[in-house]
Structure formats: structure tokens, C-alpha cells
Subunit: 309 residues, 2 copies
């Protein structure tokens, strides 16, 4: 069996980095020759997590077919969110918690997806099923990924399985979830240190919606005004990317991670579809979305539906 | 939670019928409101199995959106192999052992695929993980599905997990695998009772290969001459379906289930791609493929690759 690379999506967040490391550990225990890599540098939150648990950042790769014939995906499946030469390698394993789209294989594979808040939750379950013990440091990393994806179990994507996993992992890692979680989320929201372009690129992902190329980014903050005060610059940066990358529509969701409200900033067209999707009116290319924190569960599905209507 | 229907692919084989029943039992135990249905009548082998274990055939449905909003798929995922109005309902669960293609969802879902010989093997594992006991009758049905899909563990799709599942299920069901398995496989191969059209339709599935509509059927037999002697009629029936259904290429694989050899009969075009895929020359639209028994593992991948070359 030749070596395989394991990685999460482009613009990696904490789960994309951690799930790759956790799945690599799991597969190694089961006899596979694998290496966890990443499709980009860790963000500020992930760096805080890696430092806290004294874990090195994964090697960053731009392509994979120059190294391996087989890859394993975590935390994504859509080709446009993956490595650029995905079509040149075989995908043998996927562990994910997103919709399935723009993904196909020539041969059967192992695919495990569950509609839960975080891939690290599914992996916690898989370790349990395979009776593989999770080392304390890895438990701390996986706990961090769940806190990140579920905003400390506040996001509507949170399920009982996420809560159970957090309990189990916190005990193994010996971490106080509440105090560590808030410190970690705050570490990821130091917006002043970032340029407008860095903010909109942050963890942005591309989606094909009924033939339209839609880019959706999310900025986590502890004060929405920190984002709104920079709206003009953010809009300019989005317009620049629309022009250079050929997107039709660019949406940036600014989310207050402490109280679970969001503001939507929109560039490109069709804006009327955005208004229809969220049953709102844009004023100055912006709209408030109270209670919206999840791109996956509260933004992508209504927008997809509005595009298909 | 509203009721959901569970079903396998069109032209159901034993695994498509049994896996729907087994997953319905599993989901019912976990509190879901579900019903196992089928997209066609059971074939002769499946009827033998259902009679043997005194189990009724599932209700046959042509559409589902008139009854339910949500469905769960077993043993398939490609839209053209599924119910005709799949696009009008939400797929919430998939348990499968095929490649993933022409499948997409708007929302996250539960998806469990493994590259093993039979969905009932994956379900055996899932019952074990969830600590749900398999009743003796259901174990007999699931055992039959694995025997059917793996040709009594002889197919190259067979994995250690299939062998383990057969051992466990045979013990629960108290069945002698070898004698029951041969009787069951023979019951499915009474070709004389079937018309040419019935033979080529048997368990045929459609595939999109680089823009070509490819239909691939498989006829199990205990004597290949029983199929070859009817080649002229089978070719005529395939040509008729190409004309009426708009397929480009129709391939029928006749497989000797006792010694694991196959003959390929081809209608439509491009035939040169078929020759390239199997590194053979067609004579009289036919070629021998010694050792080939698995459409999924030994026919679809090389053919897909040849179409993409």
C-alpha cells in the first residue's frame, strides 16, 4: 500500500487542520501509510490551538499528484474547495459533515458523513467504534475543532453527538471547556491585524449554484462594529476578487461569536436572489441576520434553493 | 419527524431488497418512522430467498414524492439508478458500496459507504456499532444478500469484512452457508423461463461515461452456453432498447457463478472503447473475460477510464 496524503479544505479552519491530523493518527493505528498536510497556513485561531497543545503546523501543499496516487479528504468533498489537482489522484477515504456536491469517483471508496457540527465529532465516534484510544494532546486538538465549528456548542449545527464528544474529549484532555473555548474563539478574532483582503479571504469557500459561481466567506468577531466600520474596504476587496477570479456573487458573513448574530455584506449579482433567500432587503449592500451563525446550515441551503427557484 | 421511505436501486437484486429491509429495521430501532419499499419486483433469486425465510416482498413504488418528503437510499446513489422523482425529495441517509457519481444534496446528510462486497456487510457492522441485535430471520436475509453480491465469497469484491459478516450472520440464522448458497444462486439462474428482453433488463444499470449513455447488465448462469446460444436474440433486444431508450452502448455480461468466468456481449457504439477497456478484440460482438465477475470492480472502472482517455 503506497503512501496517501490526508487534508482538509482550502483556507483551512481549525477543524480542517485538526481532522486531518486526527484521521492520520487513526489510519496509522490501522496500518495505513499516511501524512496529514494542509492546503494553506493555519489561521490565528488554529495557531492559538496548535501553540496551546504544543503541536506543529502541518506541511502546506499546493498539489498532491506529484507526491502520491491516493488521497483522503476530511471536512470537505466539493472539488472546487479541494486541492487543484484532485482529478489526477484517487480519493480512497472521505470523512465529512457537509452536503455532497461536485464530487464523484470512478471506484468504490470509504465515505463517512454525518450531519453533525464538526468532523472531529465523527472521528471521535470512529475512534470509539474501532476501539482506538485518543491520546490526551489529540483529544485537546479535536475538542478545539468542535468548539471552533460549533462556536462553543452554540451554533444550530450542534447536535447531541457534538455535546457528547466535547464531554469525552475534555475529560481525556483535562481542559475546562468554557474558559479555554472563549480564549480560543477570541484569539481567532483579532481583526485589526488583518487587511481587507485577508478578512474576506479568511475561510471563504466557492459554490456552484445553478450555474452561478458564488463565493461565501465568514468573519468571526466579538464586536460586529469592527467589521461594519470597514465595509467600504471589504466591498472593494470583494469586487476586486469578483473581477480577478470570475465569481458572480461574493457574500461575506460577519458573525458575532458571543451572541450568535450576523451581518451580511454582498458584492456582485444577482442581489435579488440573496434578498429572496433570506427574506430581507439589502440596504447599502448589507442586511442583518439575527440568529444566523452557520454558513453550512443557514446560508448555503436557502441560497441554493433561491437560485434553483 | 415525518415518515421516510427506504429503497435500493431499480431492477432490484437481493441486496437492494434486503438492505432496504435491514436498514428499515435498524432505523426503526433507533426511533425513525420508515418503510422499506422497492423500485421493482424481486428477481427469481430474491424470491427464493424471501420464500426460504418466509418474508413478504416489499411494496413496489414508481414515485415517492407523492408520499414523503424524505428518503433513504441503500445500495446505490447515482440518480439514474434511483427513483424517477428523486430530485423532488430530500435524501437524508445513504448506505452504499458503489462509486459516488451523479449524486448531490443541498444539505448535509448521513452517508456511509465502504468498498466492501455488499451493503448488508456494512449494515452488519452498523448493527454491531449501535449494539442493536439482528433477529435470526433478518440475519438469514442479510446473509443471502452477501452470498448474492459476492457469489459465495468468490467475487474479487469480497473483503475480510464480508467474510466476517457471513460467519456472524450464518451463526445467528443457523444456516449452512455452502449448501444454502449454491441452492440460492442456482435458483437465480433459471434462464429458460425468461425472454431475451427480461434477460438483458435483469439487473441492468445505466452509467454516464464522459457524455455517453452506457447500459450494463449482468446475467448469472451455471452454464455460459445457455446464454451464448441465445446471443442473436439478446443482441436484437439490446438494439431495441438502444433505439427506444437512447443509450449509446449496451453491454451484457454473462457470468458463470460457479467458476467465475464471463462473456461480454456488446451492442451499440463505441465498440473500440470496449476493446480498449478490456484489452481484447470483439469477435461477433463478443469477448471472453476469464476471471471477471464484478461489474462494479472489473467492468465499470476500466470502461470509465477508457472513455475518459
Amino acid at each position: 500500500m503506497s503512501k496517501a496524503l490526508i487534508f482538509g479544505h482550502q483556507n483551512p479552519d481549525t477543524d480542517a487542520i485538526v481532522a486531518a491530523k486526527a484521521f492520520a493518527y487513526y489510519q496509522t493505528q490501522r496500518g495505513y501509510d499516511v501524512e496529514a498536510v494542509a492546503l494553506g497556513e493555519p489561521n490565528m485561531e488554529t495557531n492559538y490551538v496548535l501553540n496551546h497543545f504544543d503541536e506543529p503546523a502541518p506541511r502546506v501543499v499546493k498539489t498532491v499528484s506529484n507526491e502520491v496516487d491516493q488521497v483522503m479528504l476530511v471536512d470537505h468533498n466539493e472539488a472546487q474547495q479541494s486541492v487543484s489537482d484532485l482529478d489526477k489522484v484517487q480519493v480512497t477515504f472521505v470523512v465529512d459533515h457537509h452536503r455532497i456536491a461536485n464530487f464523484h469517483t470512478d471506484a468504490p471508496l470509504y465515505y463517512r458523513a454525518e450531519p453533525v457540527g464538526c468532523v472531529s465529532t465523527i472521528l471521535t465516534e470512529m475512534f470509539d467504534e474501532a476501539k482506538i484510544e485518543i491520546p490526551a494532546k489529540l483529544a485537546g486538538l479535536m475538542l478545539s475543532a468542535i468548539i471552533s465549528d460549533t462556536l462553543l456548542l452554540q451554533s444550530p449545527t450542534t447536535t447531541d453527538k457534538d455535546r457528547e464528544a466535547v464531554r469525552a474529549l475534555a475529560e481525556i484532555a483535562d481542559v475546562d471547556v468554557q474558559s479555554y473555548g472563549i480564549a480560543m474563539l477570541k484569539a481567532g478574532t483579532n481583526l485589526a491585524a488583518k487587511s481587507d483582503k485577508e478578512l474576506i479571504d479568511g475561510d471563504a469557500k466557492s459554490f456552484d449554484m445553478n450555474g452561478h459561481s458564488v463565493r461565501i466567506g465568514q468573519i468571526n468577531t466579538v464586536d460586529l462594529d469592527d467589521v461594519i466600520s470597514r465595509q467600504a474596504g471589504l466591498e472593494k476587496a470583494m469586487q476586486d476578487e469578483i473581477a480577478s477570479e470570475g465569481y458572480d456573487l461574493f457574500i461575506t458573513l460577519a458573525t458575532n461569536v458571543l451572541n450568535s448574530d450576523s451581518e451580511l455584506i454582498v458584492a456582485g449579482e444577482p442581489k435579488d436572489v440573496v434578498e429572496k433567500a433570506f427574506n430581507t432587503k439589502l440596504a447599502d449592500n448589507r442586511a442583518s441576520l439575527p440568529g444566523v451563525v452557520s454558513r453550512k446550515k443557514q446560508v448555503v441551503p436557502p441560497l441554493t434553493e433561491a437560485f434553483n427557484a
